[in-house]
Amino acid sequence: MSTVARPLEAPHHGVHAAPTSFWRKYIFSLDHKVIGRQYLFYALFMLIIGGLLAGLVRWQLAWPGKPIGFMGKLVPEGMPGGVMLPEFYNSLFTMHATIMIFFAIMPILIGAFGNFVVPLQIGARDMAFPKLNMMSFWVAVPAAVIIIWSFFVTGGAAGGGWTSYAPLSAIAPRGQTLWLIALLFLGLSSLLTSVNFITTIINMRAPGMTFFRLPLTTWALFITAILLLLALPVLSAALIMLLFDRILGTTFFLPAGMVVSGQPWPNAGGGQVLLWQHLFWFFGHPEVYIMILPAMGITSEILPVFSRKPIFGYRAMAYSIMGIAGLGFIVWGHHMFQSGMNPILGTTFMISTMVIAVPSAIKTFNWLGTLWGGNIHFTTPMLNALSFVAMFVIGGLSGIFMASTPVDIFIHDTYFIVGHIHYVLFGGSLFGAFAGLYFWYPKMFGRMMNETWGKIHWAITFVCFNLVFFPMHFLGMRGMQRRIYDYTQYTHLKGLQPINQFMTIALFVLGAAQLILVFNFFLSMRRGKPAGPNPWHANTLEWYAASPPPHENFSRIPTVYRGPYEYSVPGHGSDYWPQTDAGGAGPAAHGHA
């Protein structure tokens, strides 16, 4: 891939005129930077909601049945007298996961950073389709409204888990229908985004920006967009089928002879229960990588900057992203080992699942290689990126347990899985998101966030995160099921209450620490130190633009002369060498094969 990208031709100049009215500038904006920031606010808001739901879930686990006075007034149906009902508990964990996955992690990594960073990093003036971009954000907004509204309809919000396994989801109250509709909206939104990203990255790179000079964040988002494009239609199809089963009387997932509460279910017959799981996980496993690849990209971006050293094995990093993406489509059955799927099929999925650990291992070793011999600066973005590496190791290794089919018999559907997924999605994706937030904040808002408060936020988050989620592995080892309202019903689980209380208290500290981030985020917009175009002395093109970049980003489209991670090049004056700097012959800036 050595062809030089087509330069942005003159007629492209001025993709859309600079807006003047408030509405066009801040609300219905076509500017990828505004849309990126809109997604950021959207995701951070939903992150807070999702966190509060987690707090309620953990309250119940620590003190089952203990009333919370004010909640009785807020949600009298779900928590009469402040005591949580089991169906409300089911809604809480369902909505916690749904909101975190679809409304917080995906929008912050892909919507916010993807939109903001990609055009800047490739040297484009905007996305290929600015109107589509605006639409993808504004399609995501009703999804959030619907999902929050669903808490207040009869029967409450969906309570079938974020996986919404049929037929439970087919016979559930009305909240489930709203859940389906909200996800259909989001699916459309993500699809529009993915088409936009792919087109933009292929067609709108600045002169000299070959594929193997792309920063790894852009690489990761490019591959993520392809995953979205291939996986989401399958989810949308499944959602529509389930919606039809619920409201039109079809029977895609309803087998013959279903009897619910002693009554034959009216429209049962001919359906296949496991079909939902196959469709859902065909999307759902790539989805896990959709949430982790951008964070891996961000980490790969930040580690070289603050180690003042090229990324170790640039091409291996790019190829391993592709490897993970490709293999991600043939491992879905590992969610279904105990489902009644033919056990021989389970073995094939175990093998592909074991293999997918390899590219993740390569990435981890390459991150260590990047740190080796570096000149490491412990800034807040760096601390969060390093936490990503340290925590992703745990999330990755714990995955080996459930990849092994016989071991999975015991730990499947226990808290071991909950621990694993949180090490990947919080320890991984969310630390990656924090790293990206601290890293690009100066570019987004023109001012620096406060480093001291940033470090305090990081330290409390890192410690408390481990106190909350590491013990989950122990709960799983004792056989505590996930999604269980009151585990003290079981003799063998009664003794687990103290450890659950400890975890809940740690979660409350973790939650409170996020207030530091909220204050730092808003106060720094006004009071932060002015950032200047390149506060981190980084090489990639976004740091060539002003902070924040003006409409259309660059006064002149830059030409790219070298790879993105030329730090500490011997003989070069400073320890960084921007991609735009024409000076000198420079190193063979392609990484190695």
């Binding site: 013959a256 359906g271 640039y314 033919n342 056990p343 175990m350």
Partner: protein, 248 residues
């Protein structure tokens, strides 16, 4: 924290696999995190420090690709045998029990004195599962309504009950005693209290229990909780569900 006591014949094998993976991943974990910490301390920024300029090294990258790949392949091969023994090969001459899940109860069906299922003398129990020690038990699982999961933590047994499908699994208890059966798949608002009671009897006690049940059922025929719903739970012949798991 340790795994629960081992009550089935294959529980120890599963635990050995668990512990093997725990050792391997534990060692990798310690090495990786130690190297990470070591690098962070050794290469931290100090005045005048110059980073080492390198884009990588093909040889080490090949090594750290092949080594994890080998470890994973070995783990997969080891797991495969155990998985086959547990879920693919059903033992012959086993005690047969049919289990039907419903929101939020367990229905157990024993063939009764005639040794055949779905006859008048079947023994039906609700939430009470008995089986003998030292003899393989094959349970056939299905569900009336939504998915449930048959989870015996101390036996290291877990298998979903899927409406419209019959799934067979086996296990063998290695001691007598009382344990609890849990539902491991979210099945609705009463999921958390969908609990069964497991009694592993000696062979004699088991026969005695069966006889008691048969006698009790003969005297008060229609009282059992499961009986009325049972015919409805049987899918029509045309839609007879495929049996998964076990070729024997």
């Amino acid at each position: 924290m340790t795994l629960p006591e081992q009550v089935s014949t294959y529980a120890a094998d599963i635990d050995n696999m668990f512990h093997l993976i725990m050792w391997i991943t534990g060692i990798i974990f310690v090495i990786v995190e130690a190297i990470l910490l070591f690098f962070l301390i050794k290469y931290r920024h100090r005045e005048g420090r110059q980073a080492h300029y390198t884009h990588g090294n093909n040889r080490v990258e090949v090594v750290w690709t092949i080594v994890p790949a080998l470890i994973c392949v070995v783990l997969a091969l080891l797991s495969r045998h155990l998985w086959e023994d547990i879920k693919e090969h059903m033992p012959h001459d086993a005690v047969e029990i049919h289990v039907t899940g419903e929101q939020f109860a367990w229905n157990f069906r024993y063939p009764g004195p005639d040794g055949k299922f779905d006859t008048a003398d079947d023994i039906l129990t609700l939430n009470q599962l008995h089986f003998p020690v030292g003899k393989p038990v094959v349970v056939t699982l299905t569900s009336k309504d939504v998915i449930h999961s048959f989870f015996l933590p101390e036996f290291r047994v877990k298998q979903d009950l899927v409406p419209g499908m019959k799934t067979r699994i086996w296990f063998e208890a290695n001691r007598v005693g009382h344990w609890e059966l849990a539902c491991a798949e979210l099945c609705g608002l009463g999921h958390y209290r969908m609990k069964g009671f497991v009694t592993v009897d000696t062979a004699e006690d088991y026969q005695k229990w069966l006889a008691e049940q048969a006698a009790a059922q003969a005297s008060e025929q229609p009282k059992t909780a499961e009986a009325p719903a049972a015919p409805a739970a049987q899918p029509p012949a045309a839609a007879e569900p495929a049996t998964q798991g076990g070729n024997s």
